[in-house]
Amino acid sequence: MALKLPIFMDNHSTTPVDPRVLEEMIPYFTTKFGNAASRSHKFGWEAEEAVDHARERIAKLVGAKDGKEIVITSGATESDNLALKGVAEFYRDKGNHIVTTVTEHKAILDTCKRLEKQGFEVTYLGVGKDGRVDPDDVRRALTDKTILVSVMLANNEIGTVQPLEEIGRITRERGVLLHSDAVQGIGKVEFDVQKMNVDLASITAHKMYGPKGIGALYVRRSKPRVRLVAQMDGGGHERGMRSGTLAVPLIVGFGKACDIMAQEGKAESAHLLALRKRLRERIMGKLDEVYINGSMEHRLPGNLNLSFNFVEGEGLMMAIKDVAVSSGSACTSASLEPSYVLRALGVGDELAHSSIRFGLGRFNTEEEVDYVADLVVSKVTRLRELSPLWEMHQEGIDLKSVVWAAH
């Protein structure tokens, strides 16, 4: 098969909708368009039935007992907001302390910052060089005021998988709720709310070949029963936890995407691991001074985050413009700061600026991997020829000994 450009290798940002998902969604836009909250006619019943079926499929993927534990939202950002703000508000009399980690997604970190302004105290745990949080650090951070711990399943930049099972054992023992942003890892690495003692979990459809604009929050209903204060007022949908007319076609797609993941996730992960190995070996076998960011052992199968020393990330992305990847370089962020995740690992700013995140997905092929690897090798070589730092390195100058005129 001929290679088609551009190549999408940024599957942590989003994924295309699987054609099988789209196929199931279509009737719910046109003929089965009812409002799932309409109780008085067939259109409504049909929509409600479809939503309930999807809910069961979503529940099954996270390991929930039944569909009633699934609160539909607009996506993981809303799920994260609802989990943290909803729990904080409900359990305020019990305590005002929340524990999370420095490498969480901004939907968690910025929500925590807002809660701090409202009088909550938040402990941000650091991570090791491999990107993992130490469960003992979680244990030590807990106080009699702690109401919630929030730790992601897998990181969106470096793919690091967190020791949730160990953390869940600690939080359960201490009677503290555990929330996990499971967006990146769900279906790809092991995740089970029962086994891991997770009480709330955020997921979204568009990271698993479902449509954008739809997500869910798992909320445990027993042992313990988790309570939330709704952050959206209205018709009392989703058992009062999230008002708003349900987006039936999107929910149907979400359910199908979960079903596919539940059935094919394992085989897909093996495929992704093989592709990643190929990509890594083909690049690192031909280039010096390339560093892997984050743990290789505890990592999403489709994630490869590399720093190409002496080459700037955005400059490299421009050189490989037919390949969609992302970078931790400051130039790609609105804040002009390099990736806070890489900083948290202790990766120096210069290497953070040189990082590229490859996100392999369901539809990537070996041919694409070979093409991308060879392109990266040739462009890094070219950009190094253009780099004064590479020249200095070749001359044996220690760049750390140079006094730079910072600007």
Partner: protein, 135 residues
């Protein structure tokens, strides 16, 4: 963010990439920026006896706009006297390359690199005169 055609043109076919002999008394070297900030430019000039820049070379670690800004800077200063080259402003680079606000620092760096190379050349010349080896 998409790049302007001119940035792409300079990035894909950069002018005057290379290295001049740092120890040559007629060569001035400017090294500005820092790896931790994500951009470093090295701009070098070779000045003839009449004070005209007869050659200019650069190497840049940075994004496409940084590479384009330095490529353009070398093009502009070639054939100019030191005094003329010194008057180049970053705003002219911004205008020529159509740089968006987040990339203005690339043009500032290029202006700094020109000034720094000229200063290095003048310092070398002054030292030569002081040690009596000048012509």
């Amino acid at each position: 963010m998409s790049y302007s055609t001119k940035v792409i043109e300079h990035y894909e076919n950069p002018k005057n990439v290379g290295t001049l002999d740092k120890s040559d008394p007629n060569v001035g070297t400017g090294l500005v920026g820092a790896p931790a900030c994500g951009d470093v430019m090295r701009l070098q000039i070779k000045v003839n006896d009449s004070g005209v820049i007869e050659d200019a070379r650069f190497k840049t670690f940075g994004c496409g706009s940084a590479i384009a800004s330095s490529s353009l800077a070398t093009e502009w200063i070639k054939g100019k006297t030191l005094d003329e080259a010194e008057t180049i402003k970053n705003s002219q680079i911004v205008e020529e390359l159509n740089l968006p606000p987040v990339k203005i620092h690339c043009s500032v760096l290029a202006e700094d690199a020109i000034k720094s190379a000229i200063a290095d050349y003048r310092k070398k010349q002054a030292e030569r005169r002081a040690s009596g080896t000048g012509q």
